[in-house]
């Protein structure tokens, strides 16, 4: 498809000039989109992510009834592919967090930076992510003719909570590590691949995302999670996020700190 001649190379320009959410290396003049557009991107992205997770789970359970592993393989491949695409498409707009833990990490790390995210950004992002997550589950239910009811799958155990801590810490470390090394364009495929692997190397199948966890409460299907399991999962994810931020700070000291020491 022809790129319209009027399409900007970077982000839209109807916003005050401040630091871009994810500045392309070759677009120093790009600016951050207005907040409502970025929040809409987060809503749409989180919604489609949950629609992919829940929808592919329903299809897998329907079509491969005899082997739960095969169901999870189908579910995890669809999620890895879909998530990578969503980040690639919406990253230039909103940063493609789709995840309150990532938004919180971004806010914590950037709060002393005058061009960093503000409290209003934080609130808008979290609200958009949770609304999107719920909407995505409802959309998946509708696309498969499934009723929307609360999920009944209890998922909490010591092992699964540890798994959520590890999965979320790893996710945050992947994102921060790639950004700090200047590998912005690798974030989309790397996060997709990481989640594809994390479905398998954790006993919880790696929710690793509070907004997605809340959304998955609204479909009593393969990917659902009972309401009673949501809060423990979210708490474990927040702990994991803190561990990830700490590891990133340890491994990749900021230039200012290093300069102060030299």
């Amino acid at each position: 498809m022809s790129a319209p001649a009027s399409a900007p190379a970077g982000a839209p320009v109807d916003a005050p000039v401040d630091a871009p959410v994810r500045a392309p290396a070759d677009a120093p003049g790009s600016v951050r989109a207005v907040l409502w557009r970025r929040a809409l991107g987060e809503l749409l992205g989180t919604g489609m992510l949950v629609a992919v997770v829940v929808g592919s789970g329903i299809a897998a359970a329907n079509l491969s009834p005899d082997d739960v592993g095969l169901q999870l393989l189908e579910n995890s491949i669809a999620t890895a592919l879909g998530l990578a695409v969503l980040i690639a498409v919406l990253g230039p707009l909103s940063g493609a967090h789709f995840n309150p833990v990532v938004t919180l990490a971004d806010w914590v790390l950037g709060r002393r930076d005058p061009a960093g995210p503000r409290l209003g950004d934080l609130g808008a992002y979290l609200a958009a992510q949770v609304s999107g997550g719920i909407g995505g589950a409802l959309l998946a239910n509708a696309m498969f003719g499934e009723p929307t009811t609360l999920a009944t799958t209890q998922r909490v155990s010591g092992a699964t909570l540890l798994a959520e801590v590890v999965a979320t810490a790893g996710l945050v470390l992947v994102i921060l590590g790639l950004l700090r090394a200047g590998c912005d364009t690798l974030v989309a495929p790397a996060v997709g691949a990481y989640i594809g692997a994390a479905y398998w190397f954790t006993s919880s199948t790696s929710f690793a995302n509070p907004a997605v966890t809340v959304g998955r409460m609204f479909s009593d299907t393969f990917a659902g999670i009972a309401p009673g399991s949501v809060l423990p999962f979210v708490l474990a994810q927040l702990v994991g996020g803190a561990v990830g931020v700490g590891l990133a700070a340890l491994l990749y000291p900021a230039r200012s700190e290093a300069a102060a020491r030299s």
Copy 2:
């Protein structure tokens, strides 16, 4: 293989100089290929796409008779890989639409642009895509020794029509979003990955393409669709295409509009 010394870096140069279909960032002097070459690219690409979809469906159903999910996994992986390759190879020639919805979106968005697609381009592309789609189904039948008969698989329901709207809207948003962010080289792998995921997160297995839908009518095998289901599917795809164009306009305002406001 050695690149012949005479091979152009971009598109062939035997055409009037106007805006390239997909201008490589480093080839400002490249020009659009003559229409018949681009239409041949669309015919070949759509044909091979349908051959991949139908052929891998036949192989999957023959070789994995006991699990429909496994059949769909095989079918979707082959399609995702094949589609990404076809777009990468034919994108520099014709834009690699392979899909009337994409061609229509291109025409709608570019019709006020003097260098945009003309009505003749539109007609040639649509004709090439539909012919290619049918030819691809016949080729797949021949490669597997299957007779060419009309498919008998009814696919219409409220859920599958909603799924086609969502799948096509997402496809258009992926393409337009990446092009507007200047990520042209990501279109091929992203569209392949998106369709690989959409096989699973939609109840319709994501046809999302009127030319492919018409083609798949001509093979009464795993990927076939009964003639009575074709028109509703195509209408849902057109609605989805319009939704995708609208979302892209909302999320990525054109520079000219933004400039007019500033």
Copy 3:
């Protein structure tokens, strides 16, 4: 791993200066490696390719005895990944043909070019590819403790021969199309992905390579081919190669021809 300070950025420099097999865009001074090194690269690459195809076929048949489709899925994923890696690693050395059809196409297209391949190159490449292909089958047999005997799987039919023509034509078109568009770095992943799809959309599982076909004669396992089927398969592959070269010439006219017309 640290790149040794003495490692050249491109190809080795102990060879007469002529056009490189696949010149990196940013290495204008790179030169073609001496013939024996390039031939060794072809031998090693074709050998490892056949070892991957045959070895993963043995593993798949042993470990997934109940579903031939699952065996082919395992076999095709391993081959797609392995082939892409081999092309990426050995492409800068020998061009990573691993396939007499590709070498022949390269020779035909470049024979009028003073810097193109010479008849001696052609002979050395073909000999290396066939020897490597046989060696790879023997290595796979040894790695799995299988005896080396001639395969007994007859594969010839009208449908499979047509499939070999289509598969090989597509392979040649993928390679030539990407090279002519200047997308050299996409050849490795695209060829891997193409073959991964072609396992499924053809009834022959897409041999598409005379050297690999000869090699696979020497393992009476999942990927084997009976000696009586080899010559028809190779002839179909040569026809497919010619079709692919013709399609590429039609779609991507050389700059010199276009210039002559202008």
Copy 4:
């Protein structure tokens, strides 16, 4: 996520200036991180790699009890994805060896280079890799509620030892070949893909890594290896590493040698 303004484009700068482990092409002023940070990167990376291998093996065996091939497919896909991500994230920090054979090859090739690795680096890397490998197995056990006991799966045979030699030689050749051709950014996806294929084309499922082999001794699950098989596997891997270094030297002569001849 916004890249913090203070994040360095390359490696941290609190270390003596010498040759970077893997210098980004666009960061000539980047320097190597202090040794403890690089060793921590190796520990974390090797640990997560073993957690992925062992954890996904446990999940696969639990969820797909009826088909060992399907278990290996799940295990190999998770490992390929996870390994590629770990190399991409930690490569800029430590070089992302995660493997004593790779560290030894790096030391052997760079020992005459004043900026190459020193004996202290070697010791720290090997200790970090082995500790990380063991820790990763324990973490996987904990995430799945499995007890930590020594594995009981005997894996030694002539065929599997040959397979380990081939798998490790191939791994070293992939890494050295890509680095010598200047394709540093391809190492992460290529090594992931290579190991994904090597699970299948070798009868040993391609351990190819002494630290991972030692770690996998500590989980009596799908990916475990009995202590009595560890030493033969490690010796075969060292032989394979030497073969890989020799092949790389043969195929890619260093510039200095070539210059001496000219």
